[in-house]
Assembly symmetry: C2
Homo-oligomer: 443 residues x 2
Amino acid sequence: MSASSSAPLRVALLGCGVVGSSVARLLVEHSGDLAARIGAPFELVGIAVRRLGRDRSDVPVDPSLFTTDAAALVSRADIVVEVIGGIEPTRDLLLSAMASGASVVSANKALLAEDGPTLYAASDRHGVDLYYEAAVAGAIPILRPIRDSLAGDRITKVIGIVNGTTNFVLDKMDSTGAGFAETVEVAQSLGYAEADPTADVEGFDAAAKAAILASLAFHTRVDIHQVHREGITEVTAADIAAADEMGAVVKLLAICERVSRPEGEAVSVRVHPAMIPRTHPLGSVRDAFNAVFVEADAAGELMFYGRGAGGDPTASAILGDVVEVARHRVNGGRGAGESAYADLPVLPMGAASTRYHISLDVADRPGVLAAVAATFAEHDVSIETVRQRPGAPGESGDDEAAGATLVVVTHRAPDAALSATVEALGALDTVREVVSVMRVEGE
Amino acid sequence: MSASSSAPLRVALLGCGVVGSSVARLLVEHSGDLAARIGAPFELVGIAVRRLGRDRSDVPVDPSLFTTDAAALVSRADIVVEVIGGIEPTRDLLLSAMASGASVVSANKALLAEDGPTLYAASDRHGVDLYYEAAVAGAIPILRPIRDSLAGDRITKVIGIVNGTTNFVLDKMDSTGAGFAETVEVAQSLGYAEADPTADVEGFDAAAKAAILASLAFHTRVDIHQVHREGITEVTAADIAAADEMGAVVKLLAICERVSRPEGEAVSVRVHPAMIPRTHPLGSVRDAFNAVFVEADAAGELMFYGRGAGGDPTASAILGDVVEVARHRVNGGRGAGESAYADLPVLPMGAASTRYHISLDVADRPGVLAAVAATFAEHDVSIETVRQRPGAPGESGDDEAAGATLVVVTHRAPDAALSATVEALGALDTVREVVSVMRVEGE
């Protein structure tokens, strides 16, 4: 078989945490299959770790492969697999790996979203591959479909549930009626949320993934600082109940949208919680699963669904990249590099076109609806539906006059106009409280 | 830009029906984007059609590009896009295209499932690409994820809803309660079924796709003649109602399964209707949509969802292949060729492990259940649930004694044992009729 006639490909692994040890184990377990699929055997030449001496008996490799000298390791590899994360020293290591001729497979969404172009430029300069399927949505093949399968189409929208922790929390809030804080505790106790859940619940993780998805989908550089970001910490049980009443669920969405304007196309990239109909393909994504919904001119609606995190699922995506990069080593060629030719402007959040669901506690007297409707009209925001219900949801001991609840769902409007409308509503003396404000997606 | 400095890539299009005219239109409309993504412009050098002189004003190309001489056309192309279909003369044309150095993008599932290895060998021999994403599940990127993204994993199962016509028919039967024949007429009137729907409703189309999926997933040659095939023509409204009672729907499934046996691994590849839980990701695939569910050791469960047919969706998949093949022309390299190293045996249907849902009209007297249960036991088939209900579903004018309905769902067993059980049940004198037999998937 040709596999044995080629020189072995030297693979270096940087990092040996949950994902790294899965990668090492699968490389060993599947070595025969991988060699047959690549057309050459490979050799694991080292695993860079922070400290030696830890018990790593779950990683079935010769213990002498562990090293703390990552810089020396990358200089003697054909393929460098990076699962350390973080910005530095990782960036330096990857740049030096590529400079010495190695192809890189990385799961580092933070680095790619912060400073991808530096890495892409290095990969072009040195003629090596830089693959990072595992950086977005774990095991789900999503970057390769966007970059390659849809390369002949025009993508108009990508909406992803790309953070498993927040989907788990929101799904549990939906099924139990519990609040945010107690549900996060449950998620922590089950291992679905970190002790410090900030990166997940504040949307930083999803924002990095949104930047990567938008860059690929729109052939435009988008970095994490251009992504509008709102987390789920302020989502209340009342918001979830309000969504349920209109047949919707609340999800943390990473939204990448192509926007047509008279002055030319632009893109909007944002992460925020939103209500989405239960009948939408993303509406039934439960637990910690991820899914990415894509709309393209010719293809229509597509959805990709699977596990977004965890050692083995992430390792699956990494090994797929390793095989493809290795095939290029054996057969020649390179994968597609960065494509940023379209160079579309990234809109500020205020210019994004969104819909709002607004729930108001109002005084129950004539003229209230007229005042509310006038406020929307003043801001050029068109109302889709209004529902009025006697009895405010406030405390029963309330000593004010009887109230009513007014639920308004708008048509699409610039986010700035919607946000100004909410502010103006709050100032109306007939509005006792703005109970809940949430965007609506997926019409 | 580098796009303009490279020589144009010559693209020949074979066929100009629904899909072909979408391909031509999108090639023209997106030519600027495609050139930027490829790194070189391309030139449409001709469109082979059966007859000249037809009105093709919907295809925005110079009419002089149409030709009936397909053989001459392929000899002057770098990339040949084939959407003619059928076995001959298509096979000869593609072989001659590859022999003259052209890469091929084809949507021809029948040819690939009938005689793929001849084409794969030609592509290897001449060092050209052979891509066919559009052959399975239309716009859904599924072959590339299986071939590349999951190349480092071990796929254990692929279950696809890969025929839009049958999914439309079964979904309508489910939502309306109507029978097969009248629903096919509705599908025909709406353009979802051909005047002669045989290829779809008898499962030939799905079987070709199953062969292609299994070949890629298991690195094993599987041709259409090795695929067990049952269509949906015998699915009744009673079957659909029986599925509904257990929270399931009936779908025509293309099932590709890796089977572990003491004597070594094997694969089972089959197309048949089956009940699947409504809560399964495939259970909510409505209308003419397609979806492919994949299980792999490390990745876990994945699903890919989208439009499986139609001019533009199919053209989207074709153009994605064209861009990738063109990138290889510009940057060097080739995509992965055929991978059949695993060479696993393909099991006959009788050896496949399945579950049955059996509905029996029985005499309502003591001892019936015991006789039925004994019949299952004699065939080593284990029962999961039995539900007994007085009152047979037969005509009210029935002059026999009162009957009862017995619904049995089995555990997994060899299909041959299940099928022999059903035959033996039919011969019991306490069983008046075997009302419905259907396999169950997706536990």
